[in-house]
């Protein structure tokens, strides 16, 4: 019974990790602009991220080293420095986007300018990390994040065209606005390949003291958690297509995205969208802020654990204490949180190969994963993912200019 509970909790937390401001924004944009035509991008990205998450978890279960730890140790300081600088920039932007998402959620309910909520959200975020344990941070917010099932209910209420949705799973070229189509595709992939998520997942496995006996649970959690997360994101695309797309609304802000909930839920729609956005983004912002601490602590070999009091891992605590105000400041300075989100998703795609490529080496290194190393099929899949990640990274910035 305890195992089933752990598994259920693991799946819920994976859904929480999957659905954040990037997934919500890119799914809403895709559905509104291109209907169900981009379902295949979500499906492809989900399959890739299932494999990557399982590998990051397996690495942690066997070696008790996180991805960042192992990258520094196996690939050296020079490679790690690229990852450090890249992830610092991207994570700060994603943190800004997530804090902005929570603030916009509160703005949608109260009507007060979202900027006023930014310091309050940032302080609440810091306080929860400062005082909370890993399981409180992870499980508490993820359980709250289940409110995002409202997107599935809304989609169901609207009577989805299943035949069209299935047709959307077959890759197809855009009928119009090609640059924007491919930019949105890169954004969806970027929202799934978020580098912070892989290391956070592996660090979480170490925090929770996963060991060899947890390898099967890791596999099920990675597949079902990411799968359920994709179902919610897919529901968002369909709902957005049936409501915003049908009315010809182009999503340029979260206020417009929120209108997708009006048709299925009436006057409750906007508060419900706001609650979904705020809870999903709050959970994700906790993960990003913590991941920045993991990144520095693991990369430089400091003591780290969210379960330790800040006194015992002062440098770990200092990193998130410094990162959260910077993220908050970025939201206020850069403005429109939706634009920060789409831009940071493109940067995610740019950084993805830097974190994905070492997995190919690490998952074949006996010293780290012993007899649990990748088989031929796993290596073929991760090689394909590396190629996809490199292609997407190469086109991300040109598409940002052309279609962003």
């Amino acid at each position: 019974m305890k195992n089933i509970m752990n598994l259920a909790l693991g799946i819920v937390t994976s859904i929480g990790g999957f659905l954040d401001v990037g997934a919500i924004a890119t799914a809403a944009l895709a559905g509104a602009a291109f209907g169900l035509q981009m379902m295949w991008v979500l499906a492809l990205g989900t399959i890739c991220v299932m494999f990557l998450t399982e590998m990051a978890g397996r690495l942690a279960c066997v070696s008790h080293h996180s991805l960042v730890d192992a990258v520094r140790e196996r690939c050296g300081f020079r490679y790690f420095s690229f990852l450090l600088v890249g992830e610092l920039i991207v994570d700060l932007l994603v943190l800004a986007a997530e804090i902005g998402g929570v603030a916009v959620g509160l703005h949608l309910v109260t009507g007060i300018d979202y900027r006023w909520f930014v310091p309050i959200v940032a302080f609440a975020l810091w306080l929860l990390i400062w005082l909370g344990t890993f399981s409180i941070v992870q499980n508490g917010t993820s359980l709250l994040g289940l409110i995002t099932l409202a997107f599935v209910v809304g989609m169901w209420w609207m009577g989805p065209p299943w035949h069209e949705a299935l047709k959307g799973l077959i890759p197809s070229a855009p009928s119009h606005d090609a640059a924007r189509y491919w930019f949105t595709a890169v954004g969806i992939i970027g929202s799934l390949f978020e580098p912070f998520m892989l290391n956070f997942y592996a660090s979480g496995a170490i925090e929770e003291k996963w060991s060899l006996k947890d390898i099967p649970m890791n596999r099920v959690t990675a597949v079902l958690g990411m799968g359920f997360g994709a179902i919610i994101a897919g529901s968002l695309i369909i709902l957005s297509a049936l409501t915003l797309g049908a009315h010809g609304i182009r999503v340029d802000s979260y206020e417009q995205a929120a209108m997708m909930m009006l048709d299925p839920f009436g006057s409750w729609g906007i508060p419900l969208f706001a609650a979904c956005l705020a809870t999903a983004c709050f959970g994700a912002s906790l993960q990003v802020a913590l991941n920045l601490s993991y990144l520095f602590s693991q990369g430089f070999g400091w003591n780290w654990s969210e379960n330790l009091k800040p006194h015992d891992d002062a440098r770990f605590a200092l990193v998130y204490t410094a990162a959260i105000p910077v993220g908050a400041l970025l939201v206020v300075v850069l403005g429109n949180p939706l634009q920060i989100t789409t831009f940071s998703m493109a940067l995610n795609a740019l950084l993805a190969p830097v974190i994905v490529f070492p997995l190919l080496i690490l998952m074949n290194d006996r010293r780290y994963v012993r007899e649990y190393r990748n088989h031929t099929f796993g290596n073929v899949v991760v090689s394909a993912i590396v190629v996809i990640a490199f292609v997407i990274a190469a086109v991300a910035i040109p598409l940002e200019v052309l279609g962003g």
């Binding site: 050296g76 020079r78 070999g301 010293r367 780290y368």
Partner: protein
């Protein structure tokens, strides 16, 4: 041969002399852990002593941001060294752990000296005293 607990490599590969320790593979960039399991830092550099008419000898491992950044570019290392000399509390030289404290390498480097006896955590102590302890909830250690 891989150790069952943590993947540390102790025994040599076939054909290699029994007392060989591949420094770059099994020491450089690895996590340094003390006898109590405390993380001291990463091995940022390995220091050799040059001796007249005799081969160089490994004398210590260096746990230092400056040493790490110097591997990327000399100027980055110099800048990190200047920052350390200018701001690091109570420090005048980079923290080194003598190689005589080395126990074994692998995916972690185990040393037999407690972290408190090294100078690698000077910033950790400084932050604890000057900043963390002054924030409510930051004055005591242990599990949350």
């Amino acid at each position: 041969m891989a150790d069952k607990e943590g993947g540390e490599v102790r025994a040599p590969r076939p054909g290699r002399p029994p007392d060989v320790l591949p420094l770059v593979r099994d020491v450089l960039d690895k996590q340094v852990v003390d006898p109590d399991g405390c993380k001291i830092g990463k091995v940022d550099s390995i220091v050799l002593q040059l001796r007249a008419h005799r081969p160089p000898r490994v004398i210590s491992i260096e746990i230092s941001q400056a040493a790490a950044w110097r591997r990327l570019h000399t100027r980055l290392g110099d800048f990190a060294d200047w920052l350390r000399a200018r701001f690091e509390p109570g420090q005048d030289r980079p923290p080194r752990v003598l190689f005589e404290h080395f126990v074994r390498g692998g995916i972690d480097v185990i040393v037999d000296i407690p972290w408190k006896h090294t100078r690698a955590r000077v910033w950790e102590d400084w932050l604890q005293e000057r900043i963390i302890q002054r924030i409510p909830g930051g004055h005591r250690g242990g599990q949350k």
